[in-house]
């Protein structure tokens, strides 16, 4: 293969799996029209927002060599907090800020425990998973938290469902993805994240303040999770303490499908976003195909493996 072609493929590369998945649902006849419509892609994008924003934070964490299992619970907790604030009459801006910061505080606690007590992220965040979920139910008094109405409710839809405009949430996710990607690649903070993921020992010896950095990473990622909680609130229009159970696997899977390594040091935002889209397209497409639920599960499992396999093949990376 000549060099330019290779480079072209390299650039288009991350989209490979995604194109494959879309093609899978675009070929057969019956549901094709509905699936390939602009309106359906709008739906898919909207359904991806929460996982995508979660994946932004998770990418930072995984690149740094960590993991956060508490993301689903954090989203539930922050969405309950947001709903309670709206219910108590807070106006929109302070509610948003407080909700995002709530996520940040959970992350801060995770990060502090991980960095200061030097415990494995898996255990700490598994603990937080339980604590945050329990606290969400407690705050919500074991029920969904309902409020009259709030501008937040409109962020995940467009007034006219058939207009070509995209909901605010989609734009927020896109803008944040671009910013996060720039930060990861072009700032000292970003490169230090890669360095502690690649070799924490080295980073420490070279004067990277690893402990503070870890705390910052988890706290910042927590803010992303808080934001995801806010969009979850906007989507359900109520705070639901039982929402997003098991979402951690979806989010982590998106990041890994996007090419990151659980050993740290490798990963891109573009990849993670595509990973999130692959998951969403798979769900959406297989539901529209009218396949039985069990068949959907099987297909989704297989396609995840195949998509990642083809992507690895393309990269010629055999590790």
């Amino acid at each position: 293969m000549n060099d330019t072609a290779k480079r072209m493929l390299g650039k288009a590369g991350p989209f490979f799996g995604l194109i494959l998945v879309i093609a899978l649902f675009a070929i057969p006849g019956e549901s094709r029209e509905a699936f390939l419509s602009y309106h359906n892609f709008k739906i898919i994008l909207t359904q991806t927002v929460i996982v995508a924003i979660g994946a932004l934070g998770m990418t930072m964490i995984i690149v740094s060599g960590g993991i956060d299992l508490s993301v689903g619970s954090s989203i539930a907790f922050t969405s309950v907090v947001g709903a309670l604030l709206v219910k108590h009459g807070w106006s929109t801006a302070p509610t948003c800020l407080a909700t995002i910061l709530t996520g940040g505080v959970i992350g801060l606690l995770n990060g502090t425990a991980i960095a200061r007590l030097r415990m494995t992220p898996f255990i700490i965040t598994l603990g937080t998973l339980g604590v945050a979920r329990g606290s969400a139910k407690w705050l919500g008094d074991n029920q969904t938290v309902n409020y009259d109405s709030s501008p937040i409710n409109g962020w995940m839809t467009t007034p006219d469902p058939f207009s070509y405009a995209l909901p605010a949430g989609v734009w927020v996710a896109i803008v944040l993805a671009v910013i996060t990607s720039l930060v990861l690649n072009n700032t000292v903070f970003g490169r230090h994240i890669f360095s502690i993921g690649s070799n924490e020992q080295t980073a420490r010896l070279c004067g990277v303040p690893t402990q503070r950095l870890k705390i910052a990473i988890y706290a910042l990622a927590g803010c992303f999770f808080g934001l995801a909680g806010l969009f979850q609130l906007s989507r359900l229009r109520q705070g639901d303490p039982t929402v997003a159970i098991g979402l951690e696997l979806d989010i982590i899977a998106s990041v890994i499908i996007g090419g990151a390594s659980l050993n740290g040091g490798v990963g891109t935002i573009l990849g993670s976003m595509i990973g999130a889209l692959i998951m969403a397209v798979l769900r959406n497409g297989s539901q529209q195909m009218g396949w039985p639920t069990y068949f959907q599960e099987i297909i989704i499992g297989l396609v995840i493996i195949v998509a990642v396999f083809l992507d690895r093949l393309r990269q010629g990376k055999q590790a």
Binding site: T187, V188, S195, S198, T202, G207
Partner: protein, 498 residues
């Protein structure tokens, strides 16, 4: 001689790791613009002392002064800010990051948090230029470089910031002579600028050449110090080891037999451009060359770790079946990687497990391992190579660098192979133990085994080998019996200036 204002003064430093007491009260004093050699056997505590100085470890007891003021670094970052930089013995690179990022790690050029790429590139180039490697591809991930190049990157990193005190822990353990020379020139320049340099090396002649003064450590204590000019090599060795080492290159008589290994026009996708050689039973075959000359590639190809692009590797007397490392061991070929951390040791496992890994099966019946015999074997090697450790159950990761190397070597020597491929076998090993290892290699040859030794340390090759091959830019340029080589001749062929 009295120092007027010590740049650095350490008094009564103590440090223990669990039950191991690494330092028992070491004192050290260094003047500005002085090159100070720190000498000692493997496990004497040199690296530990320096890690305390660079903030990587905290001392249990003792005080430190830097430029007259109390000095107590909280972490390496703090130490670096205070003007203490260190080149660590173990390679410390973030393998996923580019060479440039590794050189600048922790000291990035940035504006408001955003990395300034042009400035970064210039600074990285400038640091590499000091070492004569300005052509290194800065955008390659560090993991793609050979060990020697990684060492260069590591040194460049320490030269980047302008330190007051620069600590070098075995910087030349995998450098070739040309690179070593350039490093020495840099050291001389820094000294002239008033930088204090602490230099650790097991190459005593290097220490003699560049150091003003020396301190000898033994078992965590200072056993001697003085002016380098006034001390004889023998005196230092005796201080270090507590005994006299008469012959650094002991030779065991051995005779050459039939050829056992043949390589015909081997070409690898990486650096090897063409090599043909024939090694006979009972022969010690040395491979010399500059960084990236392809010596490592050649032995890796022989061991089937990398695939051949063309050419042939033939192990005499073994069927030419599928070539994998697994089969090579079965065919009686043993391999020691130059990269002990990545490819040589299981740092979380015990000494005994490491030493016996290639022949676990032989330590019991039906797959069950006889733990006692395994430990006995480990203890035997610990004694033979004078490994400083608690016992065979200690984890390898807790040993000093040189002692880790001894364990990696012990595994190979324990394996009943016919052909031994040793890539930089004595890297980081002290003078006394080196002699012991040469002795063992000589005994292997005497027992009719073939040994290939890759080394960047020419005295070692000339002292040990029967035949020496010199590689230049991927080609095996010349193979001659040892008496026909001199250091100068090897360098002439290696640089391709013939």
């Amino acid at each position: 001689m009295t120092t007027i204002a010590a740049a650095l003064r350490l008094t009564g430093i103590k440090k223990s790791f669990g039950a191991t007491q690494a330092l028992r009260g070491v004192s050290l004093e260094i003047a500005p613009g002085e090159v100070h050699a720190l000498i000692g056997e493997n496990g004497a505590g040199k690296s530990t002392l320096m890690k305390i100085l660079s903030g990587a470890h905290a001392a249990d007891e003792g005080t430190m002064e830097l430029g007259g003021a109390p000095y107590q670094p909280t972490d390496p970052h703090d130490a670096r800010l205070k003007g203490v930089a260190m080149i660590y013995q173990e390679l410390n690179l973030a393998l996923h990051l580019s060479a440039q990022e590794n050189i600048l790690l922790g000291a990035e050029s940035a504006r408001g948090g955003w990395i300034d790429r042009t400035a970064s590139r210039e600074r990285a180039r400038a640091a590499l230029a000091l070492l004569g490697h300005e052509t290194l591809d800065l955008d390659q991930p560090a993991g793609r470089f050979s060990i020697a190049e990684q060492q260069v990157i590591e040194i460049a990193r320490a030269l980047l910031t302008k330190p007051q005190v620069l600590i070098m822990d075995e910087p030349t353990s995998s450098l070739t002579q040309a690179d070593t020379e350039r490093l020495f020139a840099t050291i001389a320049r820094l000294r002239a600028q008033g930088v204090s340099i602490i230099y650790i090396s097991h190459f005593l002649e290097e220490c003699r050449r560049i150091a003003d003064r020396f301190t000898v450590l033994k078992d965590g204590e200072t056993v001697g110090a003085g002016q380098m000019k006034e001390a004889s090599l023998d005196h230092i060795v005796t201080l270090m080891t507590g005994r006299e080492v008469k012959d650094l290159y002991p030779r065991t008589a051995h005779a050459l037999g039939e050829p056992v290994l043949e390589v015909k026009a081997a070409v690898s996708p990486l650096r090897l451009k063409g090599a043909s050689l024939r090694v006979r039973a009972g022969e010690i075959f040395g491979l010399a060359g500059l960084i990236g000359a392809g010596r490592t590639d050649l032995v890796r190809v022989i061991f089937a770790l990398d695939e051949l692009e063309s050419g042939e590797v033939c192990i005499v007397g073994a069927p030419a079946e599928a070539a994998t490392p697994h089969h090579r061991w079965a065919q009686g070929v043993g391999f020691l990687s130059e990269n002990r951390k990545e490819e040589g040791l299981m740092l979380t496992q015990s000494l005994a497990d490491n030493i016996t890994l290639t022949k676990h099966e032989t330590f019991g019946r039906f797959g069950w391992i006889n733990g006692r015999r395994q430990r006995e074997t480990a203890e035997r090697w610990i004694g033979e190579l004078r490994v400083k450790c608690r016992d065979g159950t200690q984890r390898v990761g807790e040993l000093s660098g040189g002692n880790q190397q001894k364990i990696a070597l012990a595994r190979l020597l324990e394996h009943p192979a016919r052909i031994f491929l040793l890539d930089e076998p004595t890297r980081g090993i002290d003078v006394g133990s080196k002699a012991q290892i040469y002795q063992l290699i000589g005994e292997l040859a005497a027992a009719g085994k073939a040994v290939i030794v890759v080394s960047s340390y020419l005295p070692e090759l000339l002292g040990l080998c029967d035949t020496v091959g010199v590689m230049c830019r991927g080609e095996l340029a010349a193979v001659r019996p040892r008496p026909q080589w001199t250091e100068a001749e090897i360098m002439r062929v290696a640089t391709g200036s013939a």
